[in-house]
Each structure stands twice: as C-alpha cells, then as structure tokens.
Amino acid sequence: MIVRILHEGQLEVPDEALTELNELDDHLINAVEKGDQGLFHTALAALIAKVREVGKPVADDHLGPSELILPGADATLDEVRKLLHDDGLIPG
C-alpha cells in the first residue's frame, strides 16, 4: 500500500510490514493521547524510520492517493494535535 510521509512524499510499503507498522502506530497514538512530548518524538521517529526502511519511494509522476498519511519526521506534538483538532476529531 502507499503511505505518505507529510512533506517527504509517498512510499510503497509491502503488506507484510503492516503488523509491525501497526504496533509502532499504536505507540504513537498512545503518545499523542497522553500528550507526552518525549514519547511522541521517539514513537514518531521509530514509525517513520520503519516506513522508510521497508518502503520504496513512489515515482514523482505517480498520480494516486495514499492509503495512510503520516506526519513529517520533524512534526511536533502540537502540530499533530492542531491538525487533528482543526476538524474536531480529538478534543483538546
């Protein structure tokens, strides 16, 4: 499936990697919900590192949507919350 890392582009990630990515994703969601800065950065870095490791960059001229969109590697907890909060999905 195609995953987008914001401000970095799309990567084609093999389906076998999904279980592992989901685990890392759970850590990240946990960190966002707790509002723990340190945990957030560690979890985001781990998730993005894994996506980069298993994913192959999609050609620039590819014109298709992504199945999953991730924040950029240097995103802050505040930025992520703000993006979510804009549409009122996560209060606070």
Partner: protein
C-alpha cells in the same frame, strides 16, 4: 494514525466533484495545480529572503563581537582588567544571540530545502497530470473516465494538500523569525550591542582611547624622566672627573 490519515484526506479531497462533466474537473484541478506551483515558488522566495536577512544580521553581530574582543585585548594590554571584563561580558551576550540566530538560520534552511524538493515533486506531478488529462479527454468515455479522473485528481489533491501544509508551516516559521529579526535589527540600529556610551562605565572604546593616549603621555614622561635621570647623575660623573677637569681648565687658564 488512521484518524490522522482520515483528517488529512478530508482536508485534501474537497476539490473533487466540482463539475458535472468530469472533464471540467480535470481543467479546474489543473488550474489549481498551477496556482499551487506559483504559491510554492513565492513561499520559497519568502523563506530565502528571511534566511538572507538572518545571515546579514549574523554578519553584523559577528563584527560587533570581534570589535569587543579587540577592545578586550587592548584593555588587557594597558592593564585595565575591568574594561576587558566588561567588553568580554558584552561579547558573551552577543555570542548567545549569534548562536540563536544560527539555529534559526538552520531551521529556515531546512524549510527551504524541503520546499525545494516539494516544488520539484509537485511540478513533476503537475506535468504528469497535464499529460494524463489530455489522454483522458482524447479517449473520453463517461464510464471509465470518472474513476480515472477521480484517481488522478485525488492523488494530486493530496500532494497539493501536503505542499499547502508545508508552505503554511514555512510561513509560520518565517513570520516568527521576521518578528525576532525585527527586534535584532532595532538592537543593532540602536547601537546598544556594541556602543555602550549609554551605560554606566561609559564607552569602552573611548576609555581605551583615553587610556592609550594617556599611556603614550606616560611613555613620553617616562622617556623624559629617563633622559633627565641620565642627566641628573651626570653632574656626579662630571664631578668625579671634575677634579682632573680642573687641569684643562687650568690649562685654559694658562
């Protein structure tokens, strides 16, 4: 991050289903893409301008710091430790500012690099979209076109949403830095950074100038004293051979 994905998708797919004829959607989307390319270009130029401004300020502050260091050296040279200390304290303050500016400059450079890549990617996608748009239009049959168009449009919409966020981010950072840069400009303009006339203890340079002219006066005094000192014992030396000196005197008297 499913929710995050959903939010992002919702943000980027609003452009779909604009027109009754899907082919109009293609043209509409393409227009938006060209606008976005322009917007990224402008954003990139703004970030570069801010970065250059920071670099200019860094150079100015660096010059002030160097001047203060030179003043400290001079002060140590003439034995005025208090002045040297004052100059070095000021220089340390400037160094903190300089370090801060450098971190900001690095941040802006990072944004600039990211936007440059984003622009490249977007331009490639826009060009691919234009080709695809013409192909779809040429071979248009309503049934298959809708899904093809949907795929292409939502793909590029997502890219534009991404780039739009990147620009927003860069603009936010640039705005923060311009506010700070304005404050530093005012500080530089006020002369408070390296001209300390307004503060107790007075202008380091003026004091040093006074000291160095003072010390050259001292030098001259010392020289004169030495000369006179050399003259003062001279009578004794003359006095010593003064006894035989009477002989030539007496000789002259002859």
């Amino acid at each position: 991050m499913k929710r995050f994905s959903e939010v992002m998708k919702a943000k980027t797919s609003k452009m779909l289903d604009k027109a009754e004829d899907p082919r109009e959607t293609l043209d509409y989307s393409y227009e938006k893409q060209l606008e976005m390319v322009q917007k990224v270009r402008r954003g990139l130029a703004d970030v570069a301008t801010s970065r250059k401004r920071l670099e200019l300020q860094q150079a100015q502050l660096k010059a002030s710091a160097d001047k203060l260091e030179q003043q400290a050296r001079t002060a140590v040279g003439v034995g005025k430790e208090d002045l040297a200390r004052e100059a070095l304290n000021r220089r340390a303050g400037l160094q903190t500012q300089l370090d801060g500016l450098d971190a900001q400059r690095a941040q802006l450079q990072g944004e600039e690099d990211k936007l440059t890549l984003a622009l490249q990617r977007l331009q490639t996608k826009v060009e691919a979209f234009r080709t695809k748009k013409e192909t779809i239009k040429a071979t248009y049959t309503a049934a298959e076109a809708t899904s093809k168009i949907g795929e292409a449009v939502s793909g590029i919409s997502e890219e534009m949403g991404d780039v739009g966020l990147a620009i927003q981010r860069a603009e936010d950072k640039t705005a923060t830095m311009q506010a700070r840069a304005g404050a530093v400009d005012e500080l530089i303009a006020s002369g408070a950074l390296d001209d300390v006339t307004s503060e107790p203890g007075g202008d380091i340079q003026r004091q040093l100038d006074a000291l160095s002219s003072g010390s050259s006066v001292d030098d001259e005094l010392a020289k004169m004293k030495a000369e006179l000192g050399a003259g003062a014992p001279a009578p004794k030396e003359i006095a010593a051979p003064g006894v035989p000196a009477e002989q030539p005197a007496g000789g002259e008297a002859k």
